[in-house]
Symmetry: C2
Subunit: 369 residues, 2 copies
């Protein structure tokens, strides 16, 4: 017989998932409805409407893809690119690199511009890139690079990209619900995120949004989208189909319950309050970490993900294991070129609290003593 | 403010999702762990081990894809086929047709063999097909055609397909956990299912299994798998990687809790008992439906999905709405060529009970009076 499920109540302060509040865990366990049940369609519509508010967009085509954040990335890439399309991708960490890989698999000709891990892209470098590759159809960039903690300023990129006649696609996996993010004001044409970061919902859905300009590009495709599961031309009938609601695939009902609850919590707090709370907790954590002698790697650090160098001579894995075993606290190790060299400390959504910051700093102090 | 989530406690007797038992709803709401947490890895390993038992396979590469059933179909197709590969697909309903669409999107040259909706394929027709298309690399077939209720006998197809040097890929979305299904004995090389049918788990995961022969085909690929999210060459490091457990994407933790619980329930009941229960409940339902004058469409009916013709002059949608509104019972309408002409009544997993059969027959009798 299988041992009873009894997961420990960890404080999740890694790169995600973040700690899920009990209110959302109750929601995910509500009775499952059919995916065409009018009551469920109502819940789904409310979920999409709240997603629009959190993305700060009026894009009709805003919905949760039935997969985790990486499925959101793939949905954006395979729907907007066709074989032979040129595209520019900005790489300063793991996720920019993955975007490139996805674009290549979609048959695109990819022009990568790179800065060292931990750095971000300037307006000038973007302006140069769109001049250098004038035939590109799209620019892909990561708002919150989860592998380095770098915070990319996006406020003025939309104009540069649009003036060049291109679309702007953004990875907002670690920023949605934690950082300022204005899809319409910033001219973002396609964006994807995940539920398990600053929304504090379990992993399993990837909120996405497409601008009318992006829809135009999709509607002028010459070839079918290579992924059936992620083909937005079919998905949009289910998510925005009004009376029709054609069956495409069975939506992950209970995950949608959880996302709906998570978004309600975000809107109850208010976007501005929430962003401010993340900033305040980040400053508090930063003060504590720097007092312990730890240094931030990126110049423009995210509030939601704090990436610090591991001091020389420290076995970073051993410290993480102690935090997990003795304190039930999870933090993340480095990824890619930072493997073994960095810790990644998440302050996301429900977990971005004074109590968690104090608890982690005390535990880290003990482990580093 | 958002209205509180309060889904009605429907009896789900449509084509899925099926009614989820409270024990699984409790499991899905357990505290979220990190996806690299040793405790979570343990739960995941147990889940894969139980999946092997339920699939009746020793395939090491057996795991839940992080998406719903259709993501499982796409995972099988895009990993096993490369552009230019020839493939045979058997179409007798919606899902065979979708397999064809997926195969074409993967760049394969697809040879479709068809029988009318509701019918199934004979050994002879398969033997003919592999002779007619000797260069095909794979044969795709649906075990339980959810759109028609037809039950495809698979016991002897493996030999025919293997003797022709091809792989056998099977859609078992509506049979896993409800019908006899012997992956190894029947020579199935790749199989996918969904959680929301006879496992009575919420939708959101697609159990898959690949034979060593299928792995050989994947390892000899000349091109990258077109889907990054579903690329088994990377996924296998996470699911079967032993010590390594390389991060690929964040698994849907709470969905895995639910699947683990669902599989434990299946194994506690015992596969044979479970299959027998589905058969008994099907016979009971059939007796009741036929007494009401309703006729089964397929000759070889599934036990898990019962597809009957709507009597002339009946507004089938109105009956379904009454069942939903007055009885909180969901049954399904027809799909594809059966739209408006059929009802699809699921008897899956937790919902395949004497009580549900009696309740539905009484309600239907009332609505049809």
């Amino acid at each position: 017989m299988t041992v009873q499920l009894n997961p420990r109540e960890r404080i999740l302060m890694g790169p995600g998932p973040s700690t899920v509040p009990h209110r959302i865990l109750r929601a995910i366990g509500a009775p499952t409805l059919g995916h065409l049940d009018p009551q469920y369609i109502g819940y789904m519509d409310e979920t999409c409407e709240m997603l629009r508010k959190v993305f700060q967009t009026s894009n009709a085509l805003t919905f949760p893809v039935s997969g985790t954040g990486m499925a959101g990335m793939e949905a954006v890439v395979v729907n907007l690119l066709e074989p032979g399309d040129e595209v520019i991708v900005c790489i300063n960490g793991v996720f920019g690199g993955r975007m490139k890989d996805n674009m290549e698999r979609a048959g695109a000709t990819v022009h990568a511009i790179e800065v060292p891990w931990g750095e971000t892209f300037t307006e000038e470098s973007l302006a140069e890139a769109v001049t250098m590759y004038p035939n590109a159809k799209m620019v892909g960039i990561v708002h919150a690079e989860t592998s380095t903690g770098a915070h990319q300023d996006l406020t003025s990129l939309g104009k540069i990209v649009h003036d060049a006649g291109m679309l702007l696609a953004v990875d907002a996996v670690t920023s949605l619900g934690g950082h300022e993010l204005k899809v319409d004001d910033w001219g973002i044409d396609a964006i994807y995120s995940g539920t398990q970061k600053c929304l504090s919902c379990p992993p399993g859905l990837a909120p996405v949004s497409f601008s009318p300009r992006a829809i135009e590009k999709m509607e002028s495709r010459k070839s079918k989208v290579q992924s059936w599961y992620l083909d937005v031309s079919m998905l949009k009938n289910y998510y925005t189909g009004g009376g029709g609601r054609a069956y495409h695939h069975t939506a992950p009902i209970n995950m949608v319950y959880a996302l709906r609850e998570a978004l309600a919590i975000v809107l109850e707090e208010g976007l501005e309050n929430r962003v401010n709370r993340h900033r305040e907790m980040h400053l508090l954590l930063r003060e504590g970490l720097e007092k312990l002698g730890l240094q931030y790697i990126p110049e423009n650090s995210l509030c939601t993900l704090n990436c610090v160098s591991v001091p020389d001579g420290i076995d970073e894995g051993a410290i993480r294991r102690r935090l997990l075993d003795e304190y039930d606290i999870e933090i993340g190790g480095g990824l890619g070129v930072f493997a073994g060299k960095a810790w990644r400390i998440g302050l996301m959504g429900h977990g971005a609290t004074r109590r968690n910051v104090g608890t982690l700093i005390a535990a880290l102090e003990d482990c580093l003593a």
